[in-house]
């Protein structure tokens, strides 16, 4: 017997009876199937997530807009670019993304910037979208905590086609005691705009990744700004005496201030709901 053609409201989709399990994970479970394959709605939902992640990788850093916003916050800023001449080169030559373009290096050295305790570098990394959305709110949340510590903060440096280690050379040129790199992380399908923070003391070219501390997944659905700022300020305080890297263990979550912040954020979420 031939299978009947489906028409009217008879669906060819075999739905899964365990859709309630999806409340336990954001993994793509209980998607249903048509034969063995994904239903149209799921294949398009996936395609959209991938398209957003791809766009995040290939969107250029909008330096003009960021500069204007920094100006509005009253923060002086400088612009640089790495030695990678294009996005394609950036993706294939990580070594180029870790070094300043010679012109940028010269302009930093000639900028006449005073030595500082903490320098922020904003690098596009693999998601300019993450940087555009989260870098300034994060800086704004962190600055008061650094001022409480009596720290001198340098001008914000915007860096295009940047890898994490580019901040080492920037910090070295501007004589910063510590450098904070805010950089777009490799986008996942469910997180195209995740910001990473890398803290390095005594920055200079050739620092190893084991000499940094990292705070990842900064975004409202991940680690929210106030908590990320608290963590960063904690690491800066601890790192100023003992240096950054694998030996510096993040103890911020054991502090009363952290717990208070978490409680406030949870209350805020309840009120909004």
């Amino acid at each position: 017997m031939n299978a009947p053609l489906t028409h009217g409201n008879i669906s060819p989709i075999t739905e899964d009876s365990w859709q309630d399990l999806a409340s336990h994970t954001v993994a793509r479970i209980a998607l249903g199937r048509v034969g063995a394959s994904l239903p149209t709605r799921e294949t398009l939902r996936f395609a959209l997530a991938h398209a957003q992640a791809r766009d995040a990788v290939h969107t250029a850093l909008d330096q003009a807009s960021l500069l204007a916003q920094l100006q509005a916050l009253g923060l002086p800023a400088l612009s640089v670019r790495s030695a990678a001449p294009s996005r394609a080169a950036y993706l294939q030559r990580p070594d180029q993304g870790r070094r300043l373009h010679p012109d940028s290096r010269a302009s930093l050295l000639a900028a006449g910037v005073e030595p500082c305790d903490v320098l922020f570098v904003i690098g596009d990394g693999l998601s300019a979208r993450a940087v555009a959305s989260h870098a300034l709110p994060l800086i704004a949340a962190t600055l008061p905590l650094l001022h409480e510590q009596g720290l001198r903060v340098g001008p914000v440096v915007l860096a295009a086609e940047a890898r994490v280690a580019l901040a080492d050379e920037v910090g070295e040129c501007l004589q910063a005691a510590m450098v904070v790199m805010l950089i777009g992380e490799r986008p996942g399908l469910s997180s195209p705009d995740s910001l990473g923070i890398y803290l390095t003391s005594a920055p200079r070219t050739g620092r190893m990744d084991s000499e940094r501390n990292c705070i990842s997944n900064v975004r409202p659905q991940g680690l929210p700004y106030p908590l990320a700022a608290y963590k960063l300020a904690w690491l800066i305080r601890a790192g100023r005496s003992g240096g950054t890297g694998v030996a510096l263990k993040d103890g911020s979550a054991a502090e009363q201030g952290w717990l208070d912040l978490q409680t406030r954020l949870a209350l805020g979420a309840t009120e909004r709901a």
Binding site: T14, D16, S17, W18, L21, A22, H24, T25, V26, A27, R28, I29, A30, L31, R33, G35, A36, S37, L38, E42, F46, A47, A49, H50, A53, R54, A56, V57, L91, Q92, R93, P94, D95, L126, R186, P187, G188, L189, S190, S191, P192
Partner: protein, 459 residues
Amino acid sequence: MSYAITIGPRRYRFDDLKTLLARATPLRAGDQLAGVAAGSAEERVAAQMCLADVPLVTFLNELLIPYELDEISRLIIDSHDAHAFAPIRHLTVGGLRDWLLSDAASSHALAAVATGLTPEMVSAVSKLMRNQDLVWVASKCRVITRFRNTQGLPGHMGVRLQPNHPTDDARGIAAAMLDGLLYGAGDAVIGINPASDSPETIHTMLAMMDEVRQRYAIPTQSCVLTHVTSTLELIQRGAPVDLVFQSIAGTEQANSGFGINLAVLAEAQQAAQQLGRGTVGDNVMYFETGQGSALSANAHWGVDQQTCEVRAYAVARHFSPLLVNTVVGFIGPEYLYNGKQIIRAGLEDHFCGKLLGLPMGCDICYTNHAEADQDDMDSLLTLLGTAGIHFIIGVPGADDIMLGYQSTSFHDALYLRQLLGLKRAPEFEDWLESMAITRAGKLQAQDRQQALLQLMETL
């Protein structure tokens, strides 16, 4: 020794064997990054022509990485089987390609020469082979492995169920695991990449998977993919460890960057075998590899990334693994730039592993900064299915929410099974039938009475 060839007005010279191999390699980003790739398309083919005339015995005499300085070079030379090599000893690299493709190279004949081949010979011949050659010869290779089920039988393909969760949440993992089992996946292994490296967390995950397996009498094996030294510690604590996982690379220096050597792998293999948890076999090791790992550890000795990769298979072969998985597109575009490079690398890795006698699977995957998409993965999936891949990965909806990359889905495996008639490991297939998840191998719709769905209420 140097190698040279004249093409028209040009003379191409290659200083040594590793340079010749690197220049003969199909274009890929990692070799360009390392500065070892051919400078032009013509130079690449010139190197391939030169390589075709190199006698296989040269690889036993001219080592790419010195014997004295690298324990993998020592392993390769010391474990070389001269008896198995005898029937092909007279061949050149080009001659080996011709023999592999000929009718003389039956499944039996290929298995018989496996221990006579070194990784460098296999890497060399793969550089002269087109994608269809890599598919055809691999499809003739038979590698069967066993732990709680039988894998690698002709016409069969396994799936690793990969139920990862970004915070190792037990219910999140269980939900993805159930989804996979109900889609008929998990015969190769149920394997979790943990977000945490805490031994307590990993112990909890091992115990949870073991409980589910025993409760439903599932004829498969589980694994938490943590460092070999952590697994050893967990074995000593009495954790239910089926398989020992480790990432491996093709140079001693790169492995040392992973914090491992041959001795610690041997210790772990022995410890896991002594637990006696396998029911139909004692292949207890699960290795992962990937082109570019030696370069990213700056430990490649100027050897091209594909040859480094095949040298890792010498390490794997020494420990009779249940599964070897090349995680082909995970490393990123600085090593494999686009879909074309990923597809080629996946076929090479599978062919080279199978020819050396390994149960070679592939994580057919890509990251969002690579020039690749689902269409490329569909192509590689279909090609590897025809090539007789040992196993593939199954992630819910192809989206790994912990590792942040795209692999293959449970649906992808079903597609390949229906397209090519590929069966699951027989013991696992029987279990699926007994649970009414499949009927005559075909997936069945499930209602809420399905016994597996009662699991969540007790977690």
